[in-house]
């Protein structure tokens, strides 16, 4: 008997091992899903101050928003008065915007999805694809660090081959209590484009939540967009009529 034949009975085991995805990948997927589910909840209502900061200029908008599940959201501006009533509705990958002055609803074409939303550092894509991180990426945990006694996982997310995404890679920092601390966006050359980080973790809507989110482009120091949660409540569900085109004209009804 040769050596080969001794190993032969073991071969199916190797094949089996190769076919099964490594368990840590599943962990990473579960970790990311957990984080998204945690910050979106089943449904939520929020009042947010969005501050767009530029070198010689700053502007704050107050936005009221509703989200349901991982796909539907609707935002409307309630201050300053000049922009009051401007709204954005997002269902799945589709987005509509409404302007009260001309009383029209415009559906955003795909070519506009990478443009800035309301002049901020958030793109329309950032809003429309909030569940894209779950569906379109493969996740691996590349390391851990500790933050105030809590374990923080560093997740590297590579887009799936056919996924309709603009990023070449994302990196997430997720605390072991599901709180997303940081999301980094990389281009195809794996250069950092922009990053969003959560700060001031405190009790909001009945759970620990970063009160302030900061989105900043990688190549500028003095320009960023802050989202400051003034109010946040999580609901079991919200009625579907809140996320319709007619609701966009009369939000919250």
């Amino acid at each position: 008997m040769t050596k080969k034949s001794i190993l032969a009975p073991l071969l199916p085991l190797f094949v089996l091992a190769a076919l099964c995805p490594p368990t840590y990948a599943q962990d990473a997927q579960a970790l990311v899903e957990g984080a998204v589910t945690y910050y979106r909840g089943k449904a939520s209502m929020a009042l947010v101050d969005m501050t767009i900061h530029r070198t010689h200029w700053e502007r704050t908008l107050t936005i009221k928003g509703w989200t349901r599940g991982q796909k539907d959201s609707i935002f409307t501006i309630i201050a300053p008065p000049k922009d009051e009533g401007n709204g954005t509705l997002k269902r799945g990958r589709q987005m509509w915007i409404y302007n009260p002055k001309v009383n029209r609803i415009i559906k955003l074409p795909p070519s506009m999805m990478s443009q800035a939303w309301m002049g901020s550092d958030f793109s329309n894509n950032d809003l429309a694809k909030s569940d894209s991180i779950i569906k379109d990426y493969t996740h691996t945990i590349t390391g851990t660090e500790s933050d105030g006694g809590k374990k923080v996982y560093i997740v590297q997310s590579m887009p799936k081959p056919e996924a309709p995404v603009v990023w070449g890679m994302q990196r997430l920092k997720i605390r072991d209590d599901h709180i997303l601390l940081r999301e980094e966006y990389y281009d195809e050359n794996f250069e950092l484009v922009k990053a969003m980080s959560g700060e001031q973790i405190q009790m909001l809507g009945g759970k620990l939540f970063p009160k302030v989110w900061k989105m900043q482009k990688a190549d500028v120091q003095d320009e960023y967009t802050l989202l400051d949660y003034k109010e946040l409540t999580f609901e079991q569900d919200l009625p579907g009529r809140l996320f319709t085109l007619s609701a966009l004209k009369n939000p919250g009804r």
């Binding site: 200029w57 000049k82 915007i97 002055k101 029209r104 074409p109």
Partner: protein
């Protein structure tokens, strides 16, 4: 006149037909080069003028950084003051003000992201060809409000026609949301797809109102009387603006800075032109080499005789070089004169490219193209021909030295 020169001159005219043909070959090459180069330079002037007149203008005054960033907040605060500076510069033919914003433009059917441009209808007509480019409907008047001019490709994409409504949605100078509804008044076509697909013009006053511009504009666009005046105007404008603009945040850009692609295209065209000229010169060089070699074969006996009589090989070489040099000089002189005369005729009368008139007019190009004589266009070609011909003539002239008198005289 030394004996050598006299001998060379007589030798040339001993076989007039051959010499005249050689001279004509050189003359023809020189004429062609003078004309082609002048034509090429002239067509660049026409091209540049035509391209800048579609939209860009010869010069623009903008806030520093606006060219690259296109940020709404980088504005010319006091356009009237800049206008006053331009009024005092003699070479400025006309100027206008524009404001631009990237916005969403939406018809009933579709939405596209385009540049919305606020224009002053009266001044704009003096600077750009926009008014002449209107294919359907009509141009804006000074009193129009909530009307728009749309590129033909954009109109097709949006599926709109004259009188249809467009919703414009963008962001104002103060960051607020800018929105308005305009009616399509005219549809233009420039032939530059990017422009025809991506631009909507509305009256400047509407623009300033909708986009909260507070009287500011993004560009002051100037047209020069001629392309040659641009550098001078640029200097004068920069000096005038420097006095005006204490914070030093404005900048004067000329068409080369505004349309870097145009200069690139011209460079490409020059290179391909030069390849053609080099081929032409090589052909001429071979024909000259051929003639000079023939001379030696035909006159082998004669050279043998001269050598037998005590002429040194060096003197023979000299003799042959004088012959070829005189023919070259005569040829080039004739060529330059003929070239300048032909070019000058067309420079005055222009050249109509048959069949292209309609297309040229459609795109705002003049139907006649004019070559442009200059010291450069007249001298480059003939100089290269001179150099190549003289180098070519060296070979046969040196070959003579290898002749042995007795064998040479025995040759047929």
């Amino acid at each position: 006149m030394s004996v050598d020169v006299k001998m060379a001159w007589r030798n040339i005219w001993r076989n007039p037909r051959r010499s005249v043909l050689t001279i004509l070959a050189i003359a023809f090459a020189s004429t062609l080069l003078v004309f082609m180069l002048s034509w090429q330079f002239g067509s660049y002037d026409t091209m540049i003028n035509a391209s800048v007149k579609i939209h860009t203008g010869h010069l623009q005054i903008q806030a520093k950084g606006y060219m690259d960033k296109r940020s709404m907040r980088l504005v010319v605060d006091d356009p009237a003051a800049v206008g006053a500076v331009l009024n005092k510069i003699p070479g400025v033919a006309a100027y206008t003000f524009r404001a631009e914003a990237f916005s969403l433009v939406s018809s009933k059917e579709r939405t596209y992201g385009v540049v919305v441009i606020g224009i002053d209808p009266l001044r704009e007509a003096g600077v750009s060809t926009l008014k002449k480019l209107i294919r359907r409907g009509s141009y804006l008047t000074a009193t129009d409000s909530n009307q728009a001019l749309v590129g033909n490709l954009l109109a097709k994409n949006l599926q709109v026609n004259l009188g249809d409504e467009l919703v414009v949605l963008g962001q104002g100078r103060d960051g607020s949301i800018a929105a308005t509804v305009v009616k399509v008044k005219g549809i233009f076509r420039s032939g530059q797809d990017e422009f025809d697909r991506g631009a909507v013009h509305i009256p400047l006053e509407d623009f300033q109102d909708v986009y909260s511009m507070r009287g500011a504009v993004h560009e002051v666009v100037a047209a020069a009387g001629s392309l040659g005046q641009v550098p001078e105007i640029r200097r004068a404008a920069a000096a005038g603006i420097a006095r005006l603009d204490e914070e030093d945040h404005l900048v004067v850009l000329d068409w080369m800075g505004l349309m870097p692609g145009l200069i690139e295209a011209i460079k490409m065209d020059l290179v391909s032109g030069f390849i053609f000229y080099i081929i032409l010169i090589i052909v001429v060089a071979f024909s000259i080499l051929n003639t000079f070699l023939m001379v030696i074969f035909e006159r082998t006996r004669e050279f043998g005789m001269l050598m037998a009589m005590g002429t040194s090989p060096g003197r023979l070489t000299k003799l042959l070089l004088i012959e070829s040099a005189s023919m070259t000089f005569v040829g080039i002189l004739v060529g330059i004169v003929a070239g300048v005369l032909t070019t000058w005729y067309f420079q005055v009368h222009g050249i109509v490219i048959p069949g292209a008139t309609e297309i040229m007019r459609q795109y705002g190009l003049p139907e006649r193209m004019y070559p442009q004589l200059s010291l450069l266009s007249v001298s480059i070609g003939p100089c290269v021909v001179l150099l190549i011909t003289l180098l070519t003539a060296l070979y046969p002239a040196l070959r003579v030295r290898r002749l042995r008198p007795v064998e040479a005289m025995a040759a047929a």
